[in-house]
């Protein structure tokens, strides 16, 4: 009798499609991967009241006080409580509210801020401090920006700020021997060939805007107000609450 051979089952697993599957998964993860980025408005709170820290009093010529109220769901208005005398903005009478989107308010704030642009020495000093912090060396290691640039082989640069774009010829400009022309709102940058920008400092305004919010005003109003101020060159702001005065609802 003739014995029939049993059909042999293959013991091999085909792995030809393995790399296809792996590539497919790889492309999927490449496309869907998101590295979390924290983006937002940075803000520095004032130091807590201390016996050793003297209280900072802002002169009325450098100060604007605004009360922010909410009119509608996404509508916020400002009432100017105090403004530098003789400037483009005036103290408003009760009820003279102006929308945060009002262009004359923006222009007024921009002009006041530009008039009070900080001197270049102050910006350079801050830049030096930022560089020392970035390098992890103690304060006062470099005697000047020039010395730091020579010692660390850095390149000085100027980055154009928003006020330069908005104000064009009206923006105050000063000349610096190392950086060239520096306008109000511009950023001084020190960069390294390998690492790129190492330290930066913005030429800010010395003007302070104090924002007083009604307690029931939405948080969105604060972001809108800070956004409007920063866009117009005001970086120093105070945030507080407007206490309701008198009786009644």
């Amino acid at each position: 009798m003739r014995i029939r051979n049993k059909p042999e089952a293959s013991s091999k697993i085909t792995d030809a499609s393995m790399s296809d599957i792996a590539f497919l998964l790889l492309i999927f993860f490449l496309v869907t991967t998101t590295f979390e980025v924290q983006k937002g408005i940075t803000y520095r709170l004032p130091k807590k009241p201390d016996i050793d820290t003297p209280e900072v009093v802002v002169d009325e010529t450098n100060r604007v006080v605004m009360t922010i109220k909410q009119w509608g769901l996404h509508e916020y208005v400002a009432l100017i409580d105090a403004a530098p005398p003789g400037g483009p903005l005036r103290r408003a009478r009760a009820g003279e509210d102006v929308s945060l989107a009002d262009t004359s308010l923006h222009r007024g704030l921009r002009e006041l801020a530009a008039e009070r642009a900080e001197p270049l020495d102050a910006v350079r000093e801050r830049l030096l401090g930022n560089l020392e912090a970035a390098k992890g060396v103690r304060r006062g290691t470099y005697s000047s920006i020039r010395r730091a640039i020579e010692a660390e082989n850095l390149t000085p640069m100027v980055m154009e700020g928003l006020p330069s774009r908005l104000m064009e010829d009206e923006v105050p400009v000063d000349e610096d021997p190392l950086f060239g022309n520096v306008a109000f709102g511009d950023t001084l940058v020190l960069s390294d060939v390998r690492q790129g920008p190492i330290a930066t400092a913005v030429r800010e305004s010395e003007m302070v805007v104090i924002l007083k919010f009604f307690p029931d005003c939405d948080y969105e109003g604060m972001i809108e107000a800070i956004d409007m101020l920063r866009t117009n060159g005001v970086s120093r702001t105070g945030i507080t609450i407007q206490e309701r005065l008198g009786g009644g609802a």
Binding site: V37, Q38, I41, L45, D216
Partner: protein, 154 residues
């Protein structure tokens, strides 16, 4: 005369290790991928111009605080905050952040650089100003207000 045969250069590329490389990359992306866009509460961020917003460097040690009112728009409604996976009342946030800051310093010798506030746009300012004042008293001065970019910048 005997002609010498030319050495033939192989025209094939060795692909035996291809799958290994691909798997290595695959494992990397699998372990680093974040599927959830928001690790905290479901909040609606306020909007701001991209020019006034900045990105925090990778070297910065940050802690995110999510804050939301249970019923947005209702002043009587409770406010909850979330740090990591823990919910806590808003008034306990500064003390908790201080504890975290001390823990980072003790265990990693690092300072907490920035507190990232991821708050819902309809939160009442009265509560937010109280929070800022409490943060000051805990010596946490550097904060970042998280915001979405406005679609049509100036």
């Amino acid at each position: 005369m005997k002609l010498k045969r030319r050495m033939k250069a192989s025209s094939t590329i060795f692909t035996g290790t291809m799958a290994d490389i691909v798997f290595l990359l695959l494992v990397f992306f699998m372990s680093t991928t974040l599927f959830k866009e928001t690790g905290g509460l479901r909040v609606r961020f306020p909007q701001a111009h991209p020019d006034v917003m900045s990105e925090l460097g990778k070297d910065k040690l940050t802690v995110s605080v999510w804050i939301k009112q249970l019923e947005p728009g209702n002043d009587e409604s409770d406010i909850i905050a979330r740090i990591g996976d823990y919910d806590l009342p808003l008034e306990n946030v500064p003390a908790q952040l201080k504890r975290l800051s001390e823990k980072f310093w003790r265990e990693q010798n690092k300072r907490l650089d920035v507190v990232v506030i991821k708050a819902d746009r309809r939160l009442p300012m009265g509560n937010m100003v109280d929070l800022f004042n409490s943060l000051r008293f805990e010596e946490l001065y550097r904060i970042q207000f998280n915001a979405e970019e406005i679609q049509s910048p100036v």
